[in-house]
Amino acid sequence: MRPVGLEGIDDRRQLARTLSALERGEVEAAALSRSLAGRLGRAHVVGITGAPGAGKSTLVHALLGAWLARGQRIAVLAVDPSSPITGGAVLGDRVRMGEHGANERVFIRSVAARGHLGGLARSTRAMVDVLDAAGFDTIVVETVGAGQSEVEVVQVADTRIVACPPGLGDAVQSIKAGILEIADILVVSKCDLPGAQGTAHDLRDMLHLRPGGGVGAWVVPVLPVRYDDAAAIGLLADQIEAHATAAGSGRRLAMGVTQGQAQGSAPTGATTGPAGDHPPDPHATRVAAFIAADAYVRALGIRLVHAAAGTVTLAITLEPRHVNFNHTCHGGVTFSLADTAFGMAANAFGTIAAGIDTHMTFAHAARVGDVLLARSQEISRSRKLATYRVDITREADGLLMCSFTGTVFITEQPHTLSPPQDTM
């Protein structure tokens, strides 16, 4: 069998098979990357992530058009979540890249996350290396951007774009850390819709709060964009190129040296956030594990947006099954959302914290289709007790839907989590 990883763009079939071998663990990812080391660095890798509803696939499609017009050859890795219950997945991103997907100069590969938090990042890095060595000019890595694993995957890129849907309102606060902090370029999608300018404004405000990277540092632009506006997409493509020149080029390879080998130089060029690329927050890691082990939370469809010390943000999209006989969201659902944000933040300090008192006020009724965000915040702590406040807002306009307070009793017992369901 021919040495793996040496195929060029034109040998599409072999390229695809190498990617499969990596996905299935038939070839060791790190070893393959090492063997390709001399041929890497030609491709510019763009990571695209963002909340559901931001239209990432449509954004990728639009960028493909711009890059094709500039004569480039582009590869896309589209990452979709796997069902935690069945292990299967519908890989639907590719479909939205319709016409351009059929172009000879475009290569698209869909990848299912398979519920692995760290593993996906390892094989994605190797897949990117294979595509780099094959000779593509630009490689796009696209993920959903809801949790920790997506952040890791996007860190595989030289230039990271975060797409935000319009109308986030106060929710900008709740997703600022983890995902927005790694952004090199922020895109506000569907900018013709109400709330887009407001969201852009909020994002710029938030960026001002971050410590700067020093003289000559890359300034993160906030670009409102309509995906069918060729001029705006062209500007975005220009910004991506500008970032490549200023800071991005070679960054992922430098990071690859520091990760996994604990040796080598710090990344060259300016950094984006206050501390550049930081290691994962232990609170966030614990909360992600809690979610994976909590059958009820997953059955309801609650997903993690962000977690840090003393704060957890969760989201849920309301479906017909969440609704009561008055066609509004069942109070038990919103209560569950608030309670989970509260309980998980409290437990993420490392020992079991048991809820002993809670109170919930319902201000507005939510309906099918609404996306609700619950953000918990610790407001007091003593040796044995801690109190939290949770606000539930509607993502579309930031309207406060419910208000919750809760108290936990802090024990000294460690957690024993059941392992996440693996249905392979």
Binding site: R12, R13, L15, A16, R17, L19, S20, E23, R24, G25, E26, S82, S83, T86, G87, G88, A89, V90, L91, G92, R94, V95, G101, A102, F107, I108, R109, S110, A112, R114, T423, M424
Partner: protein, 140 residues
């Protein structure tokens, strides 16, 4: 089932008909049976299907056909062979008259599923076909 035998299946429609209730149900059913499914809308060009199957390294292609679109499946089979994808399993589901079923099997289609086939039956067959195809490819 070993960890890395997750079948990768393409569910698609070629030709002119747009009725896709059946293909959506099958795609969802295969996902629920633990497979990774690439689902496309109807009216795919044969060349696009071949490109997709190549890049995604699919194990099985499921063609849904309710009108007479199955009549161009032989063209698809030829295009797959020409792209060195002859070892990808192809099944056809939908309305296929008896006299055409033989023609399809001759052309290399692994099996034709008629209306009334149950989802568990389809999923079990697809899994087994995917396993066979992958083994054939590994041996090649």
């Amino acid at each position: 089932m070993t960890h890395d035998m997750i079948p990768k299946v393409l569910v698609t429609k070629i030709g002119f008909d747009g009725h896709d209730r059946g293909s959506r149900i099958v795609a969802a059913g295969l996902r629920d049976a633990g497979m990774e499914v690439l689902y496309t809308p109807p009216w795919q060009e044969i060349a696009a299907v071949v490109k997709l199957a190549t890049e995604e390294d699919v194990d099985v292609i499921g063609i849904s056909s309710l009108a007479t679109d199955h009549l161009i499946v032989p063209k698809l089979m030829a295009a797959l062979r020409e792209a060195a994808l002859g070892d990808v399993g192809v099944i056809v589901g939908g309305i296929v008259p008896d006299e055409d079923e033989a023609m399809l099997l001759e052309a290399g289609v692994a099996r034709v599923f008629h209306p009334g086939s149950s989802m568990p039956e389809i999923a079990a067959y697809v899994r087994e076909l995917a396993q066979r195809c992958r083994q054939r490819r590994a041996a090649a």
